[in-house]
């Protein structure tokens, strides 16, 4: 019997011929990523009396969660990180303003198909869009990885979402993953590895795949894979040094479950407060006035997302009751959006163009909500209290849906734009 992507990668990295779901193993880590969490990992490392990391070239640090520093305390955390990366000789350090970690890593060529990547951030599953086994850990485990280059894993069982059909106009990969969350619920991939496949998976852009791998975590997944194809190679070949391994799952693999998802005729989807799987098609959401609309985050702040938002908002004005915040996911995307006139269109429409960063998504700064306010956002979580007040409400949708909603001042269907 063949192996799934998760099994293949975990077998390779633990020096085994074959592994099966439920096996425990210790694997060699190809890459370790941390953001502001690096400060905690470093202090843990220091408390164990360790002054060096196993391989500084396999560590990437990105400051993105509290940028620019909203408080003196976060400025202090940044200071610890900057001095730690210098002391430990970590060259792959991206200081504030470069972008969100999950965008920077692939953009700068740190992600390769077949790699085992751990990040001190839950949305590390994003790298699955490139056929890499990316998964989130905490800062104590990160300290252990920094010291040893190894970590224990339990081999997950694998499930597959077979995606068929052509997405209607203005319906995006975000709508597919929200639809999956709503239909199969937030635990469908708990402790499991997800593989997205089928003709629709192949038709999605790299940006669109990253959105789905990113949100595989919201289904509980350990990994969220797409098999690498010519689009993956085209994206990576100018960025990655060395050969690119087009890893694939074996043909004779048996998955724990296979779910068929037909996306033709799919409506834009909305996740209502306060869980990601509380999903309805936009036509069934009813009248929901929004005080704030957010386009950005590691889920949907990429070129494709800004382009569609600019198309919808060009020569329009946002509704007077709605504030629109746009966060390009990296400086490179910001510059592309600048060159292509997307930021101009968004700004003319009344958007505030904000620096690349994650702060708004988890309520650190740059757009918190007051009690009673509602927000529609292209982010990945709508948990209670996440974006400010415990009595604020966050609705999740695609960037197209957010843009249309900003115009109408209420949750709106982007297919009319």
């Amino acid at each position: 019997m063949g192996m799934t992507l998760a099994e293949k990668i975990l077998a390779r990295k633990s020096g085994k011929q074959e592994v099966r779901p439920g096996d425990y193993l210790t694997a060699d880590i190809d890459l370790a990523m941390a953001h502001e969490s690096f400060a905690g990992a470093y202090l843990n490392l220091a408390s164990a009396g360790i002054q060096k990391v196993w391989d500084p070239d396999r560590v990437v640090v990105v400051l993105d969660h509290y940028v620019p520093a909203p408080t003196e305390r976060s400025a202090g955390i940044h200071q610890i990180v900057r001095s730690a990366v210098e002391q430990l000789g970590i060259k792959h350090f991206y200081d504030e303003g470069r972008g969100i970690c999950h965008q920077i890593l692939p953009e700068e060529g740190h992600v390769c198909p077949g790699d085992l990547i751990v990040g001190a951030d839950s949305h590390t599953t994003t790298y699955g869009a490139f056929g890499a086994a990316g998964t989130g850990i905490g800062m104590s485990e990160m300290a252990y990885v920094l010291a040893t280059g190894k970590l224990w894993f339990r081999v997950p069982s694998s499930i597959r979402f077979q995606l068929n059909g052509m997405l209607p106009r203005r319906v995006m990969s975000k709508d597919i993953i929200l639809h999956i969350a709503g239909k199969y619920r937030a635990e469908v991939a708990q402790y499991r590895s997800v593989e997205f496949s089928g003709p629709t998976a192949g038709s999605l852009s790299v940006d669109g795949r990253m959105t789905m791998s990113n949100m595989a975590l919201e289904l509980g997944a350990k990994f969220g894979f797409f098999e690498p194809d010519e689009k993956t190679i085209a994206y990576l070949e100018t960025r990655v040094k060395g050969p690119i391994d087009p890893i694939r799952a074996d043909a004779d693999v048996s998955y724990e479950e296979v779910y068929e998802v037909d996306v033709s005729g799919l409506e834009p989807q909305i996740a209502l407060p306060w869980t990601v799987d509380n999903v309805k098609p936009v036509s069934e959401v009813g009248e929901v006035a929004v005080n704030q609309a957010v386009i950005g985050s590691c889920t949907n702040g990429r070129a494709e997302d800004l382009e569609v938002s600019a198309e919808i908002l060009r020569n329009k004005k946002i509704h007077p009751r709605t504030r629109l915040l746009v966060f390009p996911a990296s400086r490179a995307i910001y510059q592309e959006a600048l060159r292509k006139g997307w930021l101009e269109a968004l700004s003319e429409a009344g958007a505030s163009i904000c620096p690349p960063g994650c702060g708004v998504c988890f309520g650190a700064h740059m757009g918190l909500l007051a009690a009673g306010e509602s927000c529609v956002a292209s982010i990945n979580r709508n948990f209670r209290g996440r974006m400010g007040s415990n009595d604020a409400r966050v609705y999740l949708g695609s960037p197209a849906t957010v843009a249309a909603s900003a115009i109408e001042g209420k949750i709106a269907d982007p297919r009319g734009y």
């Binding site: 164990a48 009396g49 951030d121 989130g136 850990i137 300290a143 040893t148 224990w152 509980g220 209670r384």
Partner: protein, 166 residues
């Protein structure tokens, strides 16, 4: 190795208790403030009333969401002796192990326990007992190396031990 039984009074939570509820973002950079506000959105009395040795019983998908270690950390800092739930967000589960907070997945635990019941855990044998009601649930044992991380007090203690042995 003999493993001590863990015993305590139950605080009961529902399904999908996420890491933003356990560890609200706005207090995350201050452990002192976080201790006062843990679980505030759904159980505001918890942080003030929880006693050392109490045990959390959760429903499905407890600790889903973010990789913030402050979530199991604040539970441990409040003196909670263990967390038992029907299922966990996987990073929360790993983080609890990594900081040495006893954690165990236990089917039907929400049905078998009421708030305030006396609960006993045999972590090695993966048995969860309701002493108040005289019931026992057999759960899936933790892998021995994983149990060992909890018993050693977490992965950093393990790392310190490895340093000494070198």
């Amino acid at each position: 190795m003999k493993v001590k039984l863990i015993k305590g009074k139950v605080w009961k939570f529902g399904d999908n208790v996420d890491t933003d509820i356990i560890s609200p973002s706005i207090y995350m950079d201050s452990p002192e403030e976080l201790r006062e506000h843990a679980f505030e959105a759904i159980k505001p009395e918890f942080a003030g009333e929880v006693k050392s040795g109490d045990i959390i019983v959760g429903g499905r998908n407890f600790g889903c969401g973010s990789s913030r270690e402050s979530a199991p950390e604040v539970i441990k800092a409040l003196g909670v002796g263990a967390v038992v739930a029907e299922s966990f967000g996987r990073i929360f589960f790993r983080n609890a192990i990594a900081i040495g907070l006893p954690i165990i997945t236990c089917p039907r635990v929400s049905e078998v326990f009421e708030e305030g019941d006396e609960l006993e855990i045999d972590l090695k044998g993966a048995k969860v007992r309701n002493i108040s009601k005289g019931k026992e649930i057999q759960s899936e044992p933790l892998y021995h190396d994983v149990l060992d991380i909890i018993l050693k007090g977490g992965i950093i203690s393990l790392l310190k031990g490895m340093q000494k042995n070198e």
